[in-house]
């Protein structure tokens, strides 16, 4: 019976334990977690900031037995020869399989008033998890001024969510527009304008130099009045205590495509791990790692389930009204590759923008702003590898694709679909004496199904009444109507 020990309880570790317990892992599962509380769902951070949420609702569910979770338990060393870990309190845990899942740490810029010996100073919030967001909301007045540092997706989401909640928000970032590595200039400007529409004071091309009580001093010398500073300046893998145990650590703990370190008994996943290039670090991808590792640990590693829904890179902003998606590699959008077809739609006034890169009709990369339906459709087409419909604009604007006879009006339209009654049938019945809706219904059954054609039938009655009284054709369309019968 293998003894599985997991160090850390990041969301990826949580999913791993869930999968293992659901599939009756044949060994023991022990989680050693330095944190006081169980993990929260990190995807809920923008929701928590925008709407507030009871902490217990943001928590990921407790594991059923037999998994045992020890909180407040920091691992200080790993003895890979004896296959034993040691905790701060001096307890020993023997393992047959070890999984490192210590997650990430926030990067705290080394600036006066921001960093206090590498740790965040007072009124500075390196937000990463919903519980931190809940705590911050609890300490701020409802209309407090908050400055968010960092123009990546995290910073944009955070600023948007805080503005939605009613705070007075500034977003400070170094480049000329938000998400500089993913968006071109036109798109970046639209994101900035979207944030401004929502009340965010966007400060591009600026960096902070010092955080003083009530204000943030910028490198340009100007100051932003702010009561709290939120850091969204990035994270770094938390690699302790892997490093001390002699495992290879680069930016994160280096693992192969099966999430194995140099020691075959030791795996790492989630934010602390550094898988081969190309695998990115979103929650969905971490969950896929967890699914894959569960399959490996359960011995069904040859049969790793395909994971279409996180496959390929889709960056999707979270938050009501923040319709922003960046799909695939931005390189492909630059227009340098002649094998690639490009589609561009730019509507800055309505904050809408699309840039697509297609290869043989398949979507290889895209930037989409303000086009909610297109984001939904195209991210799925990207995931499934299905071709993008030939009517690109209809796809972007969520219009039905036109084809063939679409748009042409039949000569004798069916007015009552439930009973398949055409206008000519109704007209004939009218001429035969059925002069109102009830009489027409009795003769033709029109309107007796769902009833939605009642208005149209009444209208037809009315127009026939007019054309019957005006017996002399007056050059309108009534003679043609009669001729058509």
């Amino acid at each position: 019976m293998p003894r599985l020990v997991i160090i850390g309880h990041c969301p990826a570790a949580h999913r791993l334990v869930e999968r293992l317990t659901a599939q009756d892992y044949p060994g023991s599962i022990t989680v050693l977690d330095a944190a006081e509380q169980g993990p929260h769902n990190p995807a809920l951070l923008p929701t928590v900031l925008a709407h507030g949420l009871a902490p217990e609702l943001a928590a990921l569910p407790e594991h059923p037995s037999p998994a045992r979770v020890h909180r407040n338990t920091r691992v200080t060393s790993i003895d890979r020869t004896r296959r034993r870990v040691r905790t701060e309190a001096g307890e020993m845990y023997d393992y047959d399989v070890l999984v490192l899942a210590t997650g990430t740490r926030a990067v705290v810029p080394d600036l006066p008033g921001v960093s206090d010996q590498g740790l965040p100073a007072g009124r500075t919030w390196p937000l990463r998890k919903p519980d931190e967001g809940i705590r911050m909301r609890g300490q701020l007045a409802a209309d407090a001024s908050v400055t968010v540092l960092g123009g990546g997706l995290d910073g944009v989401e955070t600023a948007h969510a805080l503005a939605t909640a009613g705070y007075e928000v500034s977003l400070l970032h170094r480049e000329q527009h938000p998400l500089p590595r993913r968006l071109d200039r036109a798109a970046g400007r639209i994101v900035a304008d979207t944030l401004r529409d929502n009340g965010v004071n966007v400060l591009p091309g600026e960096t902070a130099s010092e955080f003083l009580p009530g204000k943030l001093v910028l490198a340009s010398g100007e100051a932003v009045s702010t009561e709290a500073l939120v850091l969204r300046t990035g994270t770094r893998p938390d690699t302790a205590p892997a490093g001390e145990s002699g495992l290879e650590v680069s930016r994160g703990i280096v693992v192969d495509s099966e999430l194995r370190t140099g020691d075959p008994r030791v795996h790492a996943l989630g934010g602390c791990a550094e898988p081969p290039p190309g695998v990115a670090g979103s929650l969905l991808e971490w969950w896929e790692q967890a699914e894959a590792l569960a399959a490996i640990l359960l011995g069904s590693g040859n049969d790793i389930p395909p994971q279409p829904h996180g496959a390929g890179r889709v960056l999707r902003a979270r938050g009501a009204g923040l319709e922003l998606a960046s799909i695939g590699s931005p390189e492909l959008l630059t227009g340098k590759d002649h094998e690639v077809e490009h589609v561009t739609f730019n509507d800055p006034k309505r904050r809408r923008y699309a840039r697509l890169a297609l290869r043989e009709d398949r979507l290889v990369a895209a930037t989409l702003l303000g086009l909610p339906e297109a984001i939904a459709t195209l991210s799925q087409l990207h995931d499934t590898g299905m071709p993008v419909p030939s009517d690109r604009l209809a796809t972007l604007l969520d219009l039905p694709t036109g084809f063939g006879t679409a748009g042409s009006v039949p000569a004798d339209p069916v007015l009552c679909h439930c009973n398949n009654v055409s206008r000519s049938t109704l007209t004939a019945a009218y001429r035969d004496g059925a002069r109102d809706v009830a009489a027409l219904a009795a003769v033709t059954r029109a309107t007796t199904g769902c009833g939605s054609c009642t208005g149209a039938v009444r209208e037809l009655c009315g127009s026939l009444a007019v054309s019957t009284t005006e017996r002399v054709p007056s050059g309108t369309d009534s003679p043609e109507q009669e001729g058509a019968e």
Binding site: L60, E323, E373, P387, A406, H417, G449, G451, S452
Partner: protein, 701 residues
């Protein structure tokens, strides 16, 4: 000239529109009545239903397969004797479970009751199930789990007329039950459907999930309801249990993840929840689109969870309901033709229920068999070791209606004895060893229970044609050949109803306070309607139009959230089968079309199977509008005429279920079953499509 007229109900769907049926000189005509569900409305199927009564190939005489393999007319005695002796032989050799019974959701309450009793008492077999297992079994399972009782709509249909917002998950009543739409006229509709159906066209908001992702959508809507503060926590604390467990799953379904899986934009998800939550009166309704999945019961539970978190069920003017499909789909699931049930919607594993029913039936409790197996498995077991050797089919056409129809047909051909009681020849009667002609709607008395749990009288206008007999008479005759006293199987419908009522007494679906006299006097009786004690006989129970206003039917009186999660359909698309086929109904036909395809007007308008697909999907495969296409899955191929539809998802094909032969949509479908309810996954099959008429394609280009 004499003219007969009766007040009765349409033979088709669960709406059971009220009709006046009259006969003059052999010609039957119908007109809608002012009955509350249809209020003078009727769809074209209902208008043309009398034509089925006079079908040229109506079954008039019993038929027996001859030594040369053909069906030939015989007398009733010979047919029944043959069945009786064959069943005796098979039972003696292989035990009572070697004989199966397959019922239908179109049978009257009396027939459904007698069929269940016949299987358990006369045959002693556990192997009974019915085509309702294909239909709304998932909603029944989820409804029972949540509320302690399953009545499709726990409120009268007319209540919907006052709704502000209705979310309709996987239903298309504008085509399948048109007269229902008059009750949905006022409400703002949110329709969940992968294609732009006639109902979706009326919707203020149309959510178009990829087929097979409905549960992910339901989880996402619950997630938004909670995170945006629409959770009615006072209601959930007072009237429900289990919110925390269901939230533990829904917490991981944030809107952007749901968008990625379902293809439903985040903004539309939020709008749906806000519409429902802000309305003073709102309903969540499910149809087959939510139900016919390998996770069908979980999907319905997901939508019920949403309704519960918003505080809708059991609140006047709001609620959750299932739009039951078949004519007696409601009553058919209450009286014991379901594998796991006894009359009164009782569980066959509940000792007290068994004792009560055994007493009514006059048999020892221990002689009653235990639970059987769901319909698809029952059919698959034919001719296999330990499976059934004989099958009696009443009011169903499983050769077309079962998933993976090719397999169902192959299995049924292995039976030693297939008996089919029907009024028209069907794909299933054509395979039978014995065909028994039985009465249809306008030729028989009985009761039906419509989608709102109201018990209705079906009345006879015409005598049965030829030598056709009622199913009740057939069961009595068969039972007596199996050694049962004739008195145990009465054939008079009102007598059967009275016994059914007694058997249901004290059960969840309690009919014991209902009789023909009350129904004939025009009383609107919705079950439960228990018998009042004799001293209060003058004030009979008024029935229960609205359930749950005080409490739910679980012992603690609370509704239960279900902990459900999405794992995806059983079959994913792949290189060979890159598209998803989903199936459903159209306005001109009913079920497998055996009745409606015989109506000239309906057959002329919709003569053959078709496949709706996106113009791009068609163009890539060289398929033109109107061309015959070949649609294939891992299980089979069907032929259908292409209809291009610029509003359907490009990854989705839609096929109607009403056609036979090479146009049978179920040749494609996946026989995987929902583990909770036994409903098959009719709504998701991985398929490919290509041109069937290659010559014409050349001419076109």
């Amino acid at each position: 000239m004499t003219r007969h007229q009766v007040a009765t109900h349409c033979p088709y769907c669960a709406l059971q529109c009220g009709t006046e049926l009259s006969e003059r000189a052999g010609a039957v005509s119908v007109s809608p009545s002012s009955f509350p569900v249809n209020r003078g409305g009727l769809c074209r199927k209902g208008w043309t239903a009398p034509e089925v009564l006079g079908s040229a190939d109506r079954l008039h005489e019993p038929q027996l397969r001859t030594g040369r393999g053909e069906l030939a007319p015989v007398g009733w005695e010979e047919a029944l004797d043959r069945i009786g002796s064959n069943l005796d032989e098979i039972t003696a050799e292989s035990g009572p479970d070697a004989v199966g019974v397959f019922g239908g959701g179109g049978l009257t309450n009396e027939k459904a009751y007698s069929l269940g009793k016949f299987a358990r008492v006369a045959l002693g077999s556990s192997r009974i199930d019915y085509n309702g297992r294909f239909c709304m079994a998932a909603a029944a399972t989820a409804g029972n789990a949540a509320f302690g009782v399953d009545r499709g709509l726990p409120f009268p249909v007319t209540d919907l007329g006052d709704a502000e917002v209705i979310l309709l998950a996987g239903g298309n009543p504008a085509e399948t039950m048109p007269p229902l739409m008059q009750h949905l006229e006022r409400a703002r509709l949110v329709v969940v459907d992968p294609r732009r159906s006639a109902t979706a066209e009326r919707a203020e908001l149309h959510l178009r999930p990829r087929p097979g992702t409905d549960l992910a959508l339901a989880l996402g809507l619950l997630h938004i309801a909670v995170t945006e503060g629409w959770h009615d926590s006072e209601y959930t604390a007072r009237r429900t249990t289990g919110f925390e467990r269901s939230w533990a799953r829904a917490v991981t379904w944030w809107p952007e993840r749901v968008e990625r899986v379902t293809g439903v934009p985040v903004s539309a998800q939020r709008q749906a929840v806000r519409m429902l939550a802000r309305a003073r009166s709102s309903y969540v309704l499910t149809g087959r689109g939510s139900e016919q999945h390998g996770d069908g019961a979980d999907t319905v539970s997901g939508f019920i969870n949403l309704a519960l978190v918003l505080g809708l069920p059991g609140t006047r003017g709001s609620g959750y309901g299932c739009l039951t499909g078949q004519g007696n789909g409601q009553g058919g699931r209450e009286h014991g033709q379901k594998a796991d049930q006894l009359p009164g919607y009782r569980s066959i594993t509940d000792p007290r229920a068994r004792a009560h029913v055994a007493e009514v039936w006059g048999v020892a409790e221990e002689t009653l068999p235990g639970p059987g197996i769901p319909a698809t498995r029952l059919l698959e077991s034919a001719g296999t070791p330990g499976g059934i050797r004989a099958l009696l089919v009443f009011g169903a056409n499983p050769v077309l209606s079962a998933p993976h129809a090719g397999l169902a047909r192959a299995q049924l051909s292995k039976l030693d004895l297939l008996v089919v009681a029907d009024f028209l020849p069907s794909e299933t009667t054509r395979m039978a060893d014995v065909v028994l002609p039985v009465t249809q709607w306008a030729e028989e008395e009985g009761t039906m229970t419509n989608l709102e749990g109201r018990v209705l009288r079906r009345r006879a206008l015409l005598p049965p044609p030829g030598s056709a007999r009622s199913d009740l008479e057939v069961l009595r005759e068969l039972a007596s050949r199996l050694g049962q006293p004739e008195s145990r199987f009465p054939s008079r419908p009102s007598t059967v109803f009275d016994e059914l009522a007694r058997a249901s007494a004290g059960g969840p679906a309690d009919y014991s306070g209902i009789d023909y006299e009350r129904l004939d006097s025009g009383q609107a009786l919705h079950w439960p309607c228990p018998k009042t004690p004799d001293e209060q006989a003058s004030t009979p129970h008024p029935g229960t139009p609205r359930l749950f206003l005080e409490s739910f039917a679980h012992p603690d009186g609370r509704a239960r959230f279900a902990a459900v999660d999405w794992h995806g359909p059983a079959e994913d698309t792949n290189h060979e089968y890159p598209l998803v086929a989903t199936t459903g109904r159209i306005s001109g036909h009913y079920q497998t079309g055996e009745q409606t395809r015989r109506v000239a007007e309906l057959a002329t308008d919709e003569p053959e199977s078709f496949v709706r697909l996106h113009p791009d999907t068609a163009a890539r495969r060289g398929v033109h509008d109107g061309q015959l296409a070949r649609v294939s899955s891992a299980r089979g191929t069907t032929l259908a005429r292409a209809r291009l539809d610029g509003s359907i998802r490009p990854d989705t094909l839609f096929l109607p279920i009403h056609y036979g032969g090479s146009g049978c949509a179920n040749l494609l479908t996946n026989p995987v079953l929902d583990p909770r309810s036994g409903i098959p996954e009719f709504k998701v099959a991985a398929v490919s499509i290509s041109v069937a008429e290659e010559v014409r394609a050349c001419h076109d280009s």
